[in-house]
Symmetry: D2
Subunit: 295 residues, 4 copies
């Protein structure tokens, strides 16, 4: 099976390499030529154009930054869709907005291109180790086709529902994550100022109704969860600017269906403030330092 892969950034380069390792014939493309060269050195075939990627691929995967980029590579005259083979499967693993994603699904369908959206969680660590989680949106049939390929890239491949629901699941999960990270930051900061020992508070709250993943797997206070970025000077992990991106995708999604997300809106603003104060590449749990008045 021949796979075309577009987008060789921090995530995509690891993913393409894992596909090569898994024995697929992988043709890669990126706007940065050296990124292509690096993959060629690992055994991939380099492409000069998007059309070259598309022409022979049985499966095309994109891993890009924005909905605009994904639309462009798919829909431009010399892009992926116009040059795709009959019966191609198209997997978009980028995290993009719902409206663009569903628009692409609908255009793909008209051109008889089988598409799934399959955004990931797990970060560059997961991309390298092939332990990503994929949240997949699309028909049962297309999900079934994508599954064996995605299993070479991740450990958990979940079918979230029909077109766009992969993005929806990721966006909604990260909305809850962003809010609860600040919730935990507020609880621990307030507690500390009141004289409560953070370890004692962790012992109490982690066994009570305040428990959440942000506290028990990724505690923003150092000295509690060993492998959390808070114990490594808030080196990411998951960068604040990426959380901000996901929160904004949440706002766009909410706007598109007239949903209310009041805490999501304030959380977005707080991450924006944090990023604007020079912390774009700090781990997102570092926001506790904004809340606690340390910065």
């Amino acid at each position: 099976m021949k796979i075309g892969f577009v987008g060789l950034g921090h995530m995509g380069s690891h993913m393409a390499q894992n596909l090569v390792k898994a024995g697929f014939q992988v043709t890669v493309f990126d706007v940065v030529p050296t990124a292509i060269d690096a993959l060629v050195a690992k055994g991939a075939k380099g492409a000069k154009t998007l059309a070259d990627v598309a022409k022979e691929a049985d499966v095309i995967i994109t891993m890009l930054q924005t909905g605009q980029q994904v639309s462009d590579v798919c829909l431009q005259e010399n892009g992926l869709f116009n040059n795709a083979k009959k019966d191609v499967l198209y997997i978009d693993s980028s995290s993009i907005d719902i409206v663009t994603c569903r628009d692409l699904h609908s255009k793909a369908e008209k051109m008889n291109i089988a598409m799934v959206d399959a955004p990931v969680s797990g970060g560059t660590v997961g991309a390298e180790a092939a332990t990503l989680t994929f949240m997949v949106g699309g028909s049962e049939e297309n999900f079934k086709r994508a599954q064996p390929i995605l299993e070479k890239l991740g450990k958990k491949i979940v079918h979230a529902g029909s077109a766009g629901n992969g993005q929806a699941a990721k966006i909604c999960n990260n909305l809850i994550l962003g809010i609860s990270m600040i919730a935990v930051s507020e609880g621990f900061s307030l507690g500390q100022k009141l004289g409560l020992d953070p370890k004692k508070f962790f012992e109490i709250s982690s066994n009570a109704s305040g428990q959440c993943w942000s506290m028990t797997s990724y505690c923003p206070v150092p000295g509690i969860i060993e492998k959390a970025p808070s114990n490594n000077d808030y080196k990411p992990g998951f960068m604040a600017k990426m959380m901000l991106k996901d929160l904004r995708l949440g706002q766009h999604a909410a706007e598109s269906v007239n949903a209310d997300i009041p805490l999501g809106a304030v959380t977005t603003e707080l991450y924006s403030l944090f990023v604007n104060q020079g912390n774009a590449e700090t781990d997102f749990s570092g926001i506790i330092n904004l809340i606690a008045g340390n910065i």
Copy 2:
């Protein structure tokens, strides 16, 4: 051992009864005479005044609504402190503001009254079944004295630290709880409007970074967690007005130490709006209906 008990409301009446059952000699007082009568019928001794409660008690317990009430019964001329026996232990199980609580500790200390603050979680169900959790603030010595008594009333007795830290722990935990309940409500409501099946989203997010107690033990969407109030028409459980009370205690605590709780502040306003729209006695998870635009 003789115990004096003041405050026979929904919580206090069950607690006093459990002390009677445990074999203590319990003298009770409340401003509502019928509340006293009910306990007398269960084997308690009724008191006519606060002084009567205090005069013979080895341990005094209060379970009241507000810091003002607790201050009043303790500090008024004919109140508990002025009439307490030497070496009395005073346990306040009310949920009150930190400033008042610490002020009482300091006055108790000057009068040689051993005090712990010991607010609870677990609701009327826990009060009746003697399965409450107590978060206790005070010296190690006073905690040790209180422990065997509180064990007759609850299943988990945690020493949260020095004076006021019981209140601090409860306030900070419930701050996180209130915020995360709205976070979960936003995530599920947005997901549903985007066409995501709530059960599917639960399956994904409960195993991912969005996981929190509000989702996995008390999900505000019906049909997911069997015993959650969402499956019983949002009958409490934990009433919205009680969550609002705790969030306001959080705001007072934050103000007293100049802590920032931006999501806590918005959460307080959302619960206030919800309560003002006629939902004071709805379970606090019912706020999903405000977020989802169902009310």
Copy 3:
């Protein structure tokens, strides 16, 4: 001078009619044929296609709902730009997002089309009476060309700066407006619950540092500003859903330049809640009823 006019809704129909009255030869188009007929009855010429509008026009004006619509009519194969005469002036009076607006400016420039963005304030009343305010973005030269035409449609024609600054000025003004309307609602509602007579509070605050247009020209409390919608059962005026649209344009604008608008974000959510509770077509000052707990 021949004017082409596209978009004959509540605002556009009045504007096109005023241009007819002013003696211009006006060719109109809308997707709703009866809207065209109505203008033809007033002396305009009806067009069958966008190309028909463009082919003979010296000036083209659009008055549409969304950036997507404006892009479509301008940029589609048979649209306005491809069919425009040499030296045409294009005026977009729609309220749309900055990014789309500036993208259009840049495409217009490449095609030698002189463009200004010229969103309005003043509502349907102003459109009918030709008393609108126009906030115009574009070069000095293009502004000068647009000015005499816009003067037939409005009383105040302000040059806000270069391309897109008309939209920017409107968005930023309405951001302040939306926030201050809720500020006034909070102040008066709180005052009333505290026992303060609204007329007395108006007398004090309107002469003090709380003064703002939302209070002194459009007070959300009835009985204070005679012609305000609050005295007419909150009939618009300026509909809540239009305020919500403008606030969302503000959020998109903020996102595009990484600006923080925390109160703007919460205000957007509050208007979204208000609209979702069935008040889309209520005047935007009606939000006081949400704040005051009357709905």
Copy 4:
């Protein structure tokens, strides 16, 4: 007429001095002896105790920081109320919470002490120049008695209604002020990032629906309103910590009557963040630098 004056801080010392200048016999007290000495040097009589102040005074004025302080000096055993002359008039010019204020009114009434609450606006500049605005709460009769005295201290003496309504008026006005200052900051910051010249935006918005006192009398952007603190490196003026104090009084007031102030709550948190980041004594308009990402 003999006046007793308690509280000789930044405001009170000027006020007491103006009373001396106006020819009253003024007896002063403060916990800081040098503050008393300074007033004695200006012609006041120094008191050793609160009782000394009260015993001979026809009118007693307090100008303190907190409700707790005012309660203490009034209600303690050797305090003002217990030592007041028959028919005394008591004026509290402190800005304090409504609940404490109304509680004092009710205690004063029981002791036949005529009381008005009379908080001020105008700052130390107004205190020195005797140009303060007084917002007075109390009966018509008591207001009439206070008026001629307050006229020696300020230019505008407004009767806001019955007991506590002076505080209510000030709190509600400053709630609107705090919110609208951030609204203006968001509008101008966003505009500037979008490329809008602040002077141009001021010209547009100050004549449109965004107009407010924070913009047209106290613009947080330098170079627009000459005498605004923004033109003097944000030297106060009105310090951020004082705005925070008033916003918190607003929250306490809202809590006491179950009022919703969602923007007030977020505004409080933003000022708290600003103060915690080291700007307690910066003018409150300096918050634009937090919003704009300059700090």
